[in-house]
């Protein structure tokens, strides 16, 4: 808050009919009242422009250029009486509390999208929609990683470290490869998100491994099928999101290598 007061010279030069003490006192009044929420919600249009900065954070101080009002700085703006009434401020504060976006929306977790992406993975033969990967969402993949580790734990293999290490290295390698192979680039979050979602069939494999042993002929066939399923859906999503043509098998092969390593962990 004190950082805002570093610009008093600007004010004294431009608005010399007002002393900065006046400005400061009204400001500190608002500061006493819940950190500027009343300030940001008062009626004056200048305040609306001014109030976009959240003064409750110490890092958010505006540049001097933004201090210029769009109307003459008349001074009614900072009447202590206007914003000082506690009831008004409190009602404004509670308004902004109700106006806050819900927690899940703020965190970026959108259950509908998560479900949609999961369905895309579970139906590998259906064509994928390229726009679903526009927002990178790491909540779903995190859940799947933890579920994979949990199912491994159920079969007695305490190897969280390997899972995380291999997924980090694999994501990095896929990120480099896709950036080199596609016309448009990808972001690392997008790659991590897609690879995490396509880990879902691996969870099915490792839960099989809890019940039956996977080292017979049947286990090898199931493992191969699931690796194929994972890499096919991962490559399908990548192809549709990055508009690469004729390269689906080429993208599927490194995905298959990565998921093969995961399968090795769950089988042996």
């Amino acid at each position: 808050m004190a950082a805002v007061f570093c610009y008093p010279s600007v004010f004294t030069s431009r608005f010399d009919n007002f002393n900065t003490d006046f400005y400061q006192s009204s400001y500190s009044v608002d500061d006493q009242n819940q950190g500027g929420y009343g300030y940001s919600n008062s009626e004056n249009p200048y305040n609306k422009q001014y109030g976009q900065y959240d003064y409750s954070q110490p890092t958010g101080y505006p540049s001097p250029g933004m201090m210029q009002p769009q109307q003459p700085y008349t001074g009614q703006i900072f009447q202590p009486t206007q914003t000082y009434t506690p009831s008004a401020s409190q009602s404004m504060y509670s308004n902004s509390f109700e106006d806050e976006p819900p927690l899940l929306e703020e965190l970026g977790i959108n259950f509908d999208h998560i479900w949609q992406k999961t369905l895309t993975v579970l139906h590998p033969l259906k064509a994928a929609d390229g726009s679903i990967m526009n927002e990178t969402d790491l909540a779903g993949p995190m859940v799947f990683c933890l579920a994979f580790g949990a199912t491994l734990l159920l079969s007695g293999k305490i190897q969280f470290g390997y899972v995380y290490g291999i997924s980090a290295i694999g994501c990095l390698a896929m990120y480099c490869l896709l950036n080199l192979m596609s016309m448009t680039g990808v972001s690392f979050g997008c790659v991590a998100s897609v690879l995490g979602y396509c880990l879902l069939p691996m969870i099915i494999l490792s839960s099989f491994g809890v019940l039956f042993s996977l080292q017979g002929m049947m286990g090898i066939i199931i493992t191969a099928t699931i690796i194929g399923w994972c890499s096919f859906s991962a490559s399908k999503i990548f192809i549709s999101a990055l508009a690469m043509d004729g390269q689906q098998l080429l993208v599927a092969y490194p995905c298959a290598l990565l998921y093969g390593v995961f399968a090795l962990i769950s089988v042996f």
Binding site: L177, L180, M181, D245, Q248, L249, L264
Partner: protein, 216 residues
């Protein structure tokens, strides 16, 4: 990383598609029926691998290298000799041999003032193609035992030697005609031939060296 190498140049080597990869793998394993080894150009720039099957690419060598490392891990795991340190050792040994080979090639081309348009990436690509042969050798060694290993070794060595000689011949030797303004550049064409043949002979040695301990 964009200060070390131009990313666009690197992207040229990854502009591949499935058809190219399949055809290239066929050529690597059976190069005797391939007729036309010339790398096609389009107004002075070489065509991308998508359009020209003779162009070198880096997708196949990279994937083959990673597959080789994973296969080595699996082979050691089957023989109960697996541990992550051994995997790291295998990977770094293979990487070091690639680096040595590329450096030797670069040095010999430079010292003998051979003006070819082989860039570093081209050399990395050509020396990475032997990993395809190595994978084939290790797989047949695992599936068919020691006899299968030696048969596959001989087959892939011959195919690879043929491939390297035919490909590099196009790139190293014709530069004689381009700068024949003296300078001794068309002196010692045999040296260029020796380089090509030496590269080719080096391949089976390295294949044997890097795979024999996996198929015991």
């Amino acid at each position: 990383i964009s200060r070390f190498m131009s990313v666009n140049k690197l992207k040229y080597f990854f502009a591949v598609d499935t058809r190219y990869v399949l055809k290239k793998l066929m050529i690597l394993m059976f190069p005797y029926t391939h007729q036309d080894w010339e790398v096609r150009y389009h107004r002075d720039t070489p065509l991308t691998p998508r359009q020209d099957v003779n162009a070198p690419d880096l997708y196949i060598p990279t994937m083959a290298f990673i597959t080789y490392i994973l296969l080595a891990g699996m082979a050691l795991g089957i023989q109960k000799r697996f541990s992550p340190e051994v995997l790291g050792l295998c990977a770094s040994t293979a990487l070091v041999w690639i680096i040595i080979e590329v450096l030797v090639m670069l040095l010999s081309l430079y010292l003998l003032t051979v003006h070819s348009d082989l860039s570093t990436f081209d050399l990395i690509a050509y020396s990475g193609y032997k990993y395809v042969g190595m994978i084939f050798t290790v797989l047949s060694g695992l599936l068919f035992g020691s006899d299968g290993y030696y048969v596959a070794l001989v087959w892939s060595s011959c195919a690879l030697m043929f491939f390297i000689v035919r490909s590099l011949k196009m790139k190293i030797l014709p530069s004689i005609s381009s700068d024949s303004m003296g300078m001794g550049s068309n002196a010692k064409p045999q040296l260029r031939l020796y380089i090509t043949v030496a590269t080719a002979v080096f391949q089976p040695i390295i294949i044997y060296w890097l795979t024999s301990h996996l198929v015991r």
